[in-house]
């Protein structure tokens, strides 16, 4: 009786693990095919001229310089805007606003915000930043929109990292007469900084791939020169890719593949840094 049950369970176990392996393999294989296809198509196109070239109607001389500079600008500004606001909000929710119905409501809403389609943020950015605040289709307006988009991720990451700080550390600080702010600033934030930074980088690596909200805000597919100030018009890599793919000439498809490779490299590099920071941080906080 029991042995049959056992055998039955073992069979289920087997089926489940085989199913899991197959699913994983399908995912992996598709990813490899996709990336492989793109690399075959585009890798030979990547050279110095491609990286530093301005946009052009001729695919052989078109480059990604303006889009790449736009991406870098947007990335930096988005980080500068979202980092202080997100961390401050996370600290507030975790350490100060814990009690009360309002903070519960905020908490649920922040989790929900992370699931709102990015194009909605684009519409919000268009209305508030581009029109009401009169920033136009500038890098600043785009960055503020993306900052809004990734704020929920940063807030959640900040709260998780702060929660992971052992309470014995806070106890020690309070017991020596430190104020709440001193304890947060001198103990909690340094101890959770690795985790917070990891969250911020992962959030930014999401922002780097976004095209839709920036298109809504008014980023352009064709910008003749690289932006010089936050108020300039701009393009970013995903928009450039989108634009090239929709062209009939095959040369532009090759360009798009090459640009996708660059974008992938940027994303992987950011994820790599995030993983590195997380490991380093986990090693440091062993008690």
């Amino acid at each position: 009786m029991t042995s049959r049950k056992n055998r039955n369970n073992r069979l289920k176990d087997k089926i489940f693990s085989v199913w899991g392996i197959i699913s994983t393999l399908i995912g992996l294989i598709l990813l490899v095919i996709f990336i492989g296809d793109i690399i075959i198509e585009g890798i030979h196109r990547i050279d110095w001229d491609f990286l530093t070239g301005l946009p052009s109607r001729k695919p052989e001389i078109a480059g990604i310089f303006t889009a790449m500079m736009g991406t870098i600008w947007v990335l930096l500004l988005t980080a500068m805007i979202s980092f202080p606001i997100g961390v401050a909000a996370g600290v507030y929710l975790e350490e100060y606003g814990k009690k009360g119905r309002l903070s519960k409501l905020l908490e649920i809403n922040i989790s929900n915000l992370a699931g709102v389609p990015s194009i909605i943020y684009g519409l919000l950015g268009l209305e508030i930043f581009a029109r009401i605040m009169n920033l136009g289709s500038s890098i600043l307006a785009g960055s503020m929109t993306l900052a809004l988009l990734i704020l929920p991720i940063i807030i959640v990451a900040t709260r998780e990292s702060i929660k992971a700080v052992p309470s014995s550390l806070k106890d020690a600080s309070f017991a020596l007469g430190a104020t709440k702010w001193q304890t947060i600033y001198l103990q909690v934030l340094p101890a959770s900084f690795g985790g917070i930074l990891t969250g911020v980088i992962l959030a930014l690596s999401r922002a780097v791939g976004e095209a839709a909200p920036l298109i809504v805000v008014g980023a352009l597919a064709y910008v003749p020169f690289a932006p010089k100030t936050p108020m300039d018009e701009f393009s970013v890599l995903p928009i450039q890719i989108f634009n090239w793919i929709s062209r009939p000439q095959h040369g532009f498809i090759t360009n798009a593949a090459a640009a996708i490779i660059i974008l992938l490299v940027i994303t992987f590099a950011m994820n790599g840094v995030a993983i590195y920071l997380r490991n380093k941080w986990q090693k440091k906080i062993k008690w």
């Binding site: 550390l169 020690a172 309070f174 007469g177 340094p190």
Partner: protein, 283 residues
């Protein structure tokens, strides 16, 4: 077992040592002003649960008072009342008077940061900051805004000397405190507390995570420290209570069952439950 005899032997030795104080104290009752900490009709609640019930107790300065009792009887809760460390617990509630240095610390306008400088605390598990040894000891001064480098250096050195850690770490003050052994970490935590010049030091089972040698060092330390500080220590170890304390209070399920001179509590406890506990029959 021979647990009892060992403890009592300790007490016998102690008894002969302490005799003059004993006669002096039994003669005339003390005035309230002479006590460092007084609790009157203290009730503590966590939500609906009452963790301490009508506690009345007085603690003398320049002495070691041990709080003993089985797990969950409220020793830590009581200890954390004195520096208001329970304040962070959401549903914590307190009734009655807690008077430290003639100030009611729950009703009078006191600065909680100042209270915690006066009433230091050492925890069960050594919890140094993940900083250098030097910065651990300097932390309490830095948060007070002390900038004088010379003063900080001196204070760090003297505090580390007080806990007999100086010779072990003086060449490695820049080393991370987490690299120290458990016993060294706990002495560092004591030094960190001493650096802000407290008057009372609360210790919550400070040696329960340590090996016997480190435990011995900290017990020795207590003998020196009680000349300058008022020490309240929670301990699970009956022999430790007998060795280091002058006064002992026995708690059971939120009640203060019995308190008095350690010699008396351990040799002729007046309550049956106290006797059962100190002889190891339960707990």
């Amino acid at each position: 077992m021979n647990y009892r005899s060992e403890t009592q032997e300790l007490i016998m030795k102690k008894d002969t040592m302490d005799t003059p104080v004993e006669t002096n104290e039994t003669k005339k009752p003390k005035k309230d002003q002479e006590y460092k900490i007084i609790t009157r009709n203290l009730d503590v609640f966590y939500g609906e649960f009452q963790a301490l019930k009508n506690i009345n107790m007085k603690i003398l300065p320049y002495s070691v008072t041990a709080l003993i009792g089985p797990s969950g009887c409220g020793k830590s809760t009581y200890l954390r009342v004195f520096n208001r460390m329970n304040d962070y617990i959401d549903d914590f509630r307190i009734e009655g008077d807690v008077i430290v240095d003639r100030k009611n610390i729950y009703t009078e306008k006191i600065e909680i940061e100042q209270l915690r400088k006066d009433v230091g605390m050492v925890f069960q598990k050594p919890n140094p900051f993940p900083k250098t040894i030097f910065e651990n000891v300097a932390y309490g001064l830095r948060i007070q805004g002390v900038k004088d480098k010379h003063f900080i250096n001196e204070k760090v050195e003297s505090s580390l000397k007080q806990v007999t850690l100086w010779d072990e770490v003086k060449d490695n003050l820049k080393k991370n405190a987490l690299a120290l052994s458990g016993g060294q970490q706990q002495r560092l935590c004591i030094a960190r507390t001493l650096a802000v010049e407290p008057e009372v030091i609360l210790m919550d089972e400070p040696t329960s995570a340590l090996d016997p040698i480190s435990t011995g060092k900290i017990e020795e330390l207590l003998f020196d420290l009680k000349n300058e500080y008022t020490i309240v220590i929670v301990t699970h170890n009956m022999q430790q209570a007998a060795r280091v304390s002058d006064h002992t209070a026995f708690f059971y399920m939120g009640d203060l069952i019995e308190e008095g001179k350690t010699t008396q509590i351990f040799t002729k406890p007046s309550n049956k439950r106290t006797e059962n506990y100190i002889t190891g029959r339960f707990g």
